[in-house]
Symmetry: C2
Subunit: 314 residues, 2 copies
């Protein structure tokens, strides 16, 4: 049996995990992401943390298969990153750079794509070879798995489905600079935006009006308690989410769609909410797509990152 590391590199922390090649997560820890000076310290910090772990646990370098890393930006098939804005990074080959620092072979991928691969390997996507993961968090992320492999695209930005346009009539500009993209409606912040808009445009009484700050969770809680306005707001969310999921399933015809991220904590009620809208719009041949909630939470990225190394070096 060999072992290795899965690294999930985020804008504020780096999650590291130690695995065996069968996919048992044996240990995990975090270090801060130091983004000063163009993020030049990030990879040396990761290399040092891995080296410290190996020596502290007296693990022989020969037992290590390699390292996988997920990074918050486009990564192409060859491991070239193309500006990770959150990290201050420019354009370079992250696989070669981390490999040089550690002496181990390295495979890299985009963080959302790698999380999808993690769910496919050891989470809710186990047993599927064609699946899509949609992460409904502060933003909307996505990862596409076909034949068991990440679809990374020509420039490493495939799966950016949160940036697909779903409402060309939108007047408000999103932080991405676009108008009417999925992320403006189907993220946690999107649900809050829909709620504020609905409450401003109507006089319907609602428990939400008593809140100082409306959160996504508050909207789901109020809806569950029978609040009419909250249910009307969620119905807008479900209609848009169902149509969006229908469109990606019509294009890809996957076996399953895995839903993760903070919004998915609402649970099966959310799937029940968007499913009729999905069915209404999806191409008839793809009606049997399974919808599942993600299982690995914040560990999905580390699992998927290490599985990149397993796929490449095993």
């Amino acid at each position: 049996m060999k072992y290795g590391f899965g690294v999930d590199l985020g804008g504020t922390t780096v999650k590291l995990a130690y695995f065996d090649t069968e996919g048992t997560l044996l240990d995990k820890w975090e270090i801060p992401t130091v983004t000063e000076r163009g993020g030049e310290q990030i990879l040396p910090d990761i290399a040092r943390s891995i080296e410290n772990y190996l020596s502290a646990h007296r693990i022989a370098k020969e037992d290590i298969l390699g390292i996988g890393i997920g990074v918050p930006g486009p990564v192409d098939r060859k491991g070239n990153v193309n500006r990770c804005v959150n990290l201050g990074w420019g354009i370079f080959n992250v696989e070669n750079a981390l490999s040089k620092l550690t002496g181990f072979p390295v495979k890299a991928g985009n963080d959302a794509n790698v999380a999808a691969l993690g769910e496919c390997w050891k989470g809710s996507g186990q047993g599927y070879t064609d699946m899509i993961m949609v992460t409904l968090g502060t933003g909307v992320g996505g990862g596409i798995i076909i034949g068991g492999n990440i679809v990374c695209g020509a420039r490493g930005s495939a799966g950016e489905i949160g940036n697909m346009i779903i409402n060309r009539e939108e007047t408000q500009v999103h932080t991405s600079g676009n108008r009417g993209c999925v992320e403006q409606y189907c993220s946690a912040t999107g649900v809050v935006r829909l709620a504020k808009r609905y409450l401003a445009a109507s006089d319907t009484p609602s428990a939400l009006r008593q809140q100082d700050t409306i959160t996504c969770k508050a909207v789901f809680d109020a809806a569950a308690a029978g609040d009419g306005a909250a249910n009307a707001i969620l119905e807008q969310f479900y209609a848009l989410l169902g149509e969006f999921l229908a469109n990606i399933c019509t294009a890809f015809d996957p076996e399953a769609v895995i839903i993760g991220g903070g919004v998915s904590k609402a649970g099966c009620v959310m799937i029940d909410g968007f499913y009729p809208h999905f069915l209404k719009h999806v191409f008839h041949a793809s009606k049997d797509v399974s919808f599942k909630l993600a299982a690995l939470g914040n560990d999905a990225g580390a699992y998927g990152a290490f599985y990149l190394a397993v796929q490449a070096f095993c």
Copy 2:
């Protein structure tokens, strides 16, 4: 050098072509598609036509690598077709069936996907490994190529991008039973529908009002001659097509999109028309997608079908 056949099976005719494995189209011909009695005669007719060709040209069976076939319906990775409505077919393995009839190995794919593979092999998509073909004809077809291979999906219906929803406000029901899908706007019949709607809703004088039957070509011709209404109609078409193409490029991040079908005969003026709308909506990392007109016309299906056999048996 080996040889083989590419078969493009349509609802009214079967196009057959004889190739060498380098992709030289050496000969081509057609036979009618006999759809009576559940289309049971179709594969025997194809087998007989191939056998006749071999004996008429004294070609040894040992020189034949195999046969590829594109069929008008979903085909999964293993060659199972799932109801080709136009042919009267149910559910069976078309690869096994045609192989039994001919004695040659057979690979099958969906016709639109196979045409995309043909353009990738020997048409405008040469040199690309990640590309999407969009066929704007009577309907809107699509094929997705990733890593040089067709994406066929879990049920063989990936690439059905003409069935993606682009306008949830649409009131008219499409022949597919859906409302607001791409095909309702971006096909030749879609352009005619947009034209009739525009002319009915406005008093703008237009040369199109003098025509007994408005065709897609007539709209493009009138626009080129400076007709204001025709240009306004095409602007609606371009806005929807550009947004749709932006969405699929945001999801897949391809190197190139190849545009084929009757509408693409309008030529580069069409690409110039939708391109600003594409740029407005696409995710920034995928802005450099190349757009090209298809090169192989009606032969794309036969090329792609035979290339399926080359990929599988060479």
